[in-house]
Amino acid sequence: MAWNDILKPLSGWKFLFKKPHTIRYPKEDKIPSERYRGIHTNMIDKCIGCGSCEKICMNQAITMKEMDVEVKEGTTNLRPVVDHGRCCYCGLCVDICPTGSLWLSRDYRHLSEDIDTFIIDPNVKEKEREGWQKAPEFSLIPPERGKMEEIPPEKRVKSFMEVFVGYTEPIAKEEAQRCLGCGLCVDACATHMHIPDYLKAIREGNNEEAVRIMFKNNPLSEICGTVCTHFCENVCPVGIIGEPVAIQWEKEFATRTIEDYKKIIDTTIKEKKERVAVVGAGPAGLSFAFYLRLKGYKIDVFEKYEKPGGMMLLGIPSYRLPRKVIEKEIKFITSTGVKIHTGTQIGKKKTFKELLKKYSAVFVATGNTKPYTMGIPGEEGKDTLQAISFLYDVNTGKKIDLKGKKVLVVGGGNVAMDAIRTSRRLGADVYLSYRRREVDMPADELERKEAKEEGIEFMIQTLPIEVIREKGKIKAVKYVPTDMDFSEKGKRPKPVPRMNDVRTLEVDIIIEAIGQGPDLTYLEQEFGESLKIEKGKPVVDKNLMCSIKGLFFGGDMANKQNDIVSAVADGRRAAEGVHNYLQNK
């Protein structure tokens, strides 16, 4: 036995005062790494309830449950509940979540004897939480939409040709793939078009099926694909990641691939005896006529002007909505057997009472034709134009020369945008006066962007107070800047004019585009007190029937939204309403 055999083992004593390798759990805790994926947390207020997490989960671990939450525009009351007996913490739900409300916390401990307790409600209210969240630079869905070719501003101000060229097939297919299939857009759309369904059809290259799905809810799909207020895109959750899915352009692409709708859409009709009259061949009247015709009724449409189309034809300039698009849609609607009598104004020679006697029901959709005025000194007179009459003149081909003239357009809606861009195309120097901030403008963002590109000067937060005239001709406009008053919550801010800061602008022509309302004088003359009117619009029930039996109202004159798609929705709803009314009569 050597000394070494005794001494060597003693070297083990050197570890006596070292910190032990063992983690003395539970006395000392080991904190998991920063990006550890544990049990879910979901911000209940930030979540919009789109259900993308439920759809992407391979293990079907997530169930969307109805919860007691406030439902805002573009959200649902569904929130995820996760079964941690199935979850494998892959984090796909977090990656797909468009709002980023769903996280995987660093908490991973859950013990139980009962397997039902593994279904955990992850919804929390607290703002402070930590855990694994979606990386900002990474997205399962491409944040940018497919690019569309556009005519450059210098070229397009010289003519009335369409600004956008349209999608090509490969880009359209790629763009359709960005859809999450949540269906929030369907809730937002006035006429509830089945958007995820037709995007799926486009993705699969089946444009005919896509158009068939569109026409179930909207017989003016191509027009809506070209000009629409696209509430669908405003609520699209992909818009939170980047740009929303280009639903409108997809629709335009699919409809333009079809030469003749008659060939692909089934329009076999079982004829019925009843006859129904429609007053006004605008979007509401046409959609009403189409859907009621499909139910078998005989339809007569009466239109004041020489061509059917209403405000679509007379109000919207052709660089936004080419005339051949309107003609194509109206040709399809008339091919089902709808008769359109143009140049026939109801209320003058023919009266509404006559129509009610002759027809089983009458649908009135004459739109907003009476423009509002500013009511400032010097306003009335020569060279003060109303935007809709100005657009009507231009669209009907009347020669108007604005070359070298200075034009001031007052207003911030889409009509104002049409007015400024049309007058720019006629060669004028254009100024736009709007009394609120630019973000408050009701006009589309795209329209505003394009208008600026075309060299139109935006005078934001200004209010004209007086028109100065010299020998009857307009010389200048006095205006004041405004301040915003945010005291009323939930509403748009109120403009407060700064009256001591008066400025002047030399102009030749003023175009007013501050809104319009329905013209009900001829109806009032005929029906008097028996027709109930509130805030300038006729009162209607859920079937859109007014206080007089058999008389239905729809379109701009009855709804608040005042756009094409709402008018189409009204027409469709009224068609159902008339059908119910005539069945139960």
Binding site: R24, N59, H84, R86, Y89, Y108, H110, E113
Partner: protein, 170 residues
């Protein structure tokens, strides 16, 4: 009996049935990193001496037979710990033809640990919880198995021949 339970909770021998992927979390628990011997729990090689049966992860029908035979060979009192999502509700094998989904249909599970897979701390938590529960007499799955023997056998018989794979089955 309560005094007996107190002693039982202090010294537990564990049989770990490791065919699932979760077994990879066991080495740190058993060895010096987390050192489960601090709680009087040591791994045991045979079912006859073991108190805890730890099922780590999924069980195929084929392995379930062996697990049931193992469980029935263990002496009472005995406890089963289900480990990971697979034993709770099938986990990521929820649509596989080969694996069972809910372990509690075939064996009386006393405690489940969530996770895919659970971290060693969660396993340590489970052991602490189990020790407490055993001392207080809360976990009595083995009694449940005897009382509901026919129900368990009926569920097992759906998958395989129970006569061949059970110990002492009349």
């Amino acid at each position: 009996m309560s005094i007996l339970n107190k002693f039982r909770g202090k010294s537990l021998w564990m049989l770990h049935y490791c065919t699932g992927c979760g077994a990879i979390e066991m080495p740190p628990v058993m060895t010096s990193r987390y050192d489960m011997e601090r709680f009087g729990i040591i791994p045991m090689a045979t079912p006859r001496q073991a108190d805890i049966l730890l099922i780590t992860g999924y069980l195929a029908v084929k392995t379930l037979k062996r697990v049931i035979r193992t469980y029935e060979q263990m002496h009472s009192p005995k406890w089963v710990v289900g480990f990971g999502a697979c034993t709770v509700n099938g986990g990521m094998y929820w649509d596989s033809y080969a694996t069972i989904k809910k372990l509690e249909l075939y064996l009386p599970v006393d405690l489940y640990i969530a996770g895919c897979m659970p971290r060693p701390e969660a396993i340590m938590d489970a052991f602490i919880e189990l020790r407490k529960g055993i001392s207080s007499g809360k976990y009595e799955g083995w009694k449940k198995y005897i009382e509901n023997y026919d129900w368990y056998k009926k569920n097992q018989a759906k998958l395989f021949d129970v006569k061949k794979w059970s110990v002492n089955y009349e």
